[in-house]
Symmetry: C2
Subunit: 586 residues, 2 copies
């Protein structure tokens, strides 16, 4: 047996016991004829004492230990003189009587401590060392606990976890599918699922009634800031439900997990906001509602005064930043620079200050009278000392820019505390999105989303205005999850495919099995999927999902540690009946 | 709301209640002015009654319902006259007051009943209908319950579930890797994991101490009877353990699950058998120990009597089939045919009968005296009425043939009851397997398996005789799981790679990250993996793992329902920088 105890469990009440521990040498220090070693394992740190005057050979051996050596130590538990209140084992130490080096260690490229990490590249290359840091491991322990508790909760609600296949068929969003050549079926390919969408719907057709799965999904797309080519979803579906049933069920799950992890009670139901309102008030379908600063529309007040920027704009929107009237010219210039960055894309920014003494200053003072400006401030509910920031331009674009500005101001004002949580349902998404380039509609969610029953008669006549029975859960400006009520009527589904520009043949090729299945008694059903990586990172108070993934990939989809992807042998290519071709010029 | 209750929950105590149910029409029958509909959902079946004399329109609508229509019915719960004791809801029925057809159904290609399934091809093509059958759904419910309970148990033992990547790097067993071209890294490929082996070892290097994962794995191989290209493992690893710790831990898990699912107590520790004994006594490393009929070796007794078959044989082995001395010539011929089938491959079979009256009959009576034959029977422990069956030839081949014959006899004698469970640890596997074709050693398990410490000095001198610290758990002749203690010493690991014919460059290319990791303090560690599909199928009393997989593939790796794999567009191939080539001639 390698150990009688872990490095985290011995207490004062164990004093006098003979024990054996095993773990890693966190650090060793020599002090006055004694050597103290902090021995670390997953469970904690225990101090080991080697005394020079008891066993010289043992003492010498202890002094040769390097950082991260793996050792087995036996000895006697003893009360410590200088107790360490910060350590659960801080009241005891082990007086060593034997020491065995189980494995040596090269000097690690960075020290294994919470507050040093050696930078991102080193961390990823030596992820196995990075994972030794208790803060990193803690994130994965949280992930384990959350996954387990989510399963327990859904099981208690009658949901069955069913594994759906990973080797499936390419779908209409196929451009982002990873594909897998089949050795047994030369020239043919599997695809990896972007989600188990069709399978969970088939399980509803099968009468499974309540399904869930915590499942890996895959998307081969250029990785923006915080995406991974493989990610984990909590995928759920229910039969004989309407939107309200789904929202209730999964609001319950989210509240339960917040309570379980953070001991937070959300007494009230989560607020709900239509997609149209979210766009109008926040310029985003995932508003960060930890703070206010809702948009104010000023087009009517700004137009017709001879200022072309305002007159030509389709939309004029503003936010009021509380207490920012004292912003300097430099600070205002910084904000202007911020909105002009290519990622935001505004042409400029206007501002109006309502000084503490009630006077007004503005970047557009020469076009508008103080009274006119006062009208703007009044509409925005500004108080003395507040600053109004204004953008003008095309509606959707300007709203998005104003959203970025709002978030930036929220950050500057410290209103985006990661330990504060604001949850929101966004509902009534549009069913379709128009694409100018291809001159056709795309499904905003996916082609199985049901239209709002009130809007079905507009499908052909006013396609863009049709609302979907779709909903997103938003937490602190992140889309935590989303879903919809599905179409269970095969005629309506056919209609949708047509509106999305899929010919009958294409639809049959891609979804024949689903269309067939719907002919044999599909129940009304709906569901949603949560991004599990995101869920964990929000509760861990982290910005990036990478920190809650054991072995993440970088922005080029590379695993820096194992160096994948990589080339494969010609013989393997031959076996698979494929060849590598020149990359396309983009 | 679609329903107030499920079809499985109403009881006599609910009589008088107004309820609404939703579900599928299992069947409808008209009898004496009434129509009875069995309404089915996942939770059960409830009888609905439509009366002709109360509401004609409603009655007419009920008579138009077809099988598998999805309906919503409201009505009053009433005590039933003819109670059905076989149904939990059999004491009540619903007197319908309204009926809404939620969806119609074409006539299904087979009826949704437990004892009809329409044959394998139809079942697979219409898997979503097959899954409506309660026996099939029951298997997946069992799977859900087992997965949950395994997680609960391992969590209680301090194991953390960690998700390891699916997009990894091709390994030495690469010929069986599925690969995935990377769009962002043209000419490079990910591989899908055949197991998370290296990642779980890295997690031990990271100090995770106890890891598990219920995880999909992938193997692109010709699918024998009961393999799937994607399958699910319960993958486990522990640090600071020896073989005994691992066996104890996971014997505990298996016993717990047997108790949980089947209420079976295995009071005693599972028996353990060396691989050498398993081969000697059963000719298999996964013996079915539900019954005896161990091999008896007769070479010394059969040789030198002038019978060339015996004299030339390297090995002569026999089993004694109890009570089979009355086998007819025809039955014996059938057995001879059985062993001569190409799948078994024996040249012939010999037999000796010990009749009830003590007399002897044998197919080799002209070569051996009754006394000599009696010596064979005695060694085999035969009783009057027993039949000895004998095969002769090369040792390993003949043992395998005799294993097939033993299993066949076990089946014929009804000794392989699927409701009886016999568990066994097979230990001391050889570390290496010699391959005649390539004239080199292969790792019997994988290249990370530690040699038995007692045999390390034989690595170079007597390579084939080195035992591994490897173990399999065998249940009823199935390999339920297996694992090993791993090498944690990077020098020993290098040595192993050399013995397996991997050059330093190859080893570095394939496993550089693991070899690097082992330089930074790898703890002693070991683990195992269970085949989860097999585990469920054994406890469900099923022969095939296909029956416990929601959407399985057939023997050609095809999903018959979604028709995958399939061809993909040229544009998609171009995007991925690959082309399809002519399949190799085999």
């Amino acid at each position: 047996m390698y150990r009688t105890n872990t490095c985290g469990e011995l207490r004062l009440s164990d004093a006098g016991r003979e024990v054996t521990l095993a773990g890693w040498v966190q650090r060793a220090r020599k002090m006055g004829g004694m050597t103290f070693v902090d021995l670390r394992d997953r469970y904690g740190i225990t101090q080991i004492v080697f005394e020079s005057d008891s066993d010289t050979a043992l003492f010498d051996a202890a002094n040769k230990l390097g950082r991260e050596f793996v050792v087995q130590v036996s000895g006697t538990v003893q009360e410590r003189e200088n107790k360490n209140k910060n350590l659960p084992t801080g009241e005891i130490e082990i007086i060593a009587t034997s020491l065995k080096v189980l494995n040596r260690s090269d000097v690690p490229p960075f020290t294994i401590e919470d507050d040093t990490d050696g930078g991102d590249d080193l961390r990823m290359k030596y992820r196995y060392l990075d994972l030794r840091r208790s803060c990193v491991r803690g994130n994965l322990e949280l992930r384990h606990r959350m996954a387990f508790e989510i399963r327990r909760y859904l099981d208690s609600k009658g949901f069955l976890e069913v594994e759906t296949p990973v080797l499936i068929k390419s779908t209409p969003e196929g451009a982002r599918d990873f594909v897998v050549p089949s050795r047994m079926n030369p020239g043919e390919f599997y695809a990896l699922p972007q989600s188990p969408q069709t399978f969970k719907q088939l399980l509803m057709v099968s009468g499974f009634d309540r399904y869930f799965q915590i499942v890996k999904c895959f998307r081969d797309e250029d990785l923006r800031a915080d995406r991974q080519p493989e990610f984990t979803q909590i995928d759920c579906e229910m039969s004989f439900v309407e939107q309200e049933d789904v929202l209730q069920m999964f609001e319950g799950l989210v509240k339960h997990i917040f309570k379980y992890v953070k001991d937070i009670d959300f007494a009230d139901p989560f607020p709900r906001m239509t997609w149209a309102d979210a766009m109008r008030l926040y310029g985003s379908d995932k508003p960060d509602t930890r703070f206010g600063m809702q948009f104010v529309e000023l087009k009517d007040l700004t137009t017709g005064k001879g200022f072309a920027v305002m007159d030509d704009a389709e939309y004029v929107g503003a936010i009021v930043a509380p207490g920012c009237a004292d912003y300097t010219r430099k600070q205002l210039d910084q904000l202007t620079e911020f909105v002009k960055r290519p990622q935001v894309g505004a042409k400029g920014m206007m501002w109006v200050k309502l000084e503490n003494d009630g006077s007004i200053k503005s970047s557009v003072g020469k076009f508008y009278s103080d009274d006119e400006l006062r009208g703007w401030l009044e509409r925005g509910g500004a108080n003395p000392g507040d600053l109004m920031l204004i953008l003008a331009g095309a509606t959707m674009k300007t709203r998005k820019q104003l959203n970025e500005l709002r978030l930036e101001m929220g950050s500057r004002l410290g209103l985006r505390d990661p330990q504060k949580f604001s949850c929101l349902w966004v509902v009534d998404f549009p069913l379709f999105e128009w694409d100018d380039e291809t001159q056709r509609y795309y499904a905003m969610h996916h082609p199985f989303t049901a239209p709002n029953p009130e809007d079905v008669d507009k499908l052909d006549t006013d396609t863009g205005a049709v609302r979907a029975t779709a909903y997103d859960m938003v937490v602190n400006g992140n889309e935590l999850g989303g879903g919809s009520i599905r179409i269970h009527d095969s005629e309506l589904q056919d209609h949708m495919f047509r509106l999305l520009g899929l010919s009958e043949d294409e639809a049959r090729y891609k979804f024949g099995f689903l269309m067939d299945a719907f002919k044999y008694g599909a129940p009304p059903h709906g569901g949603l999927a949560f991004g599990f990586d995101r869920f964990v990172s929000i509760l861990a108070g982290l910005d990036s999902i990478r920190d809650v993934i054991a072995f993440p990939k970088n922005n080029s989809g590379r695993d820096m540690m194992i160096d994948a992807p990589s080339t494969i042998d010609q013989s393997q290519l031959d076996e698979l009946s494929i060849a590598v071709t020149e990359p396309e010029k983009k």
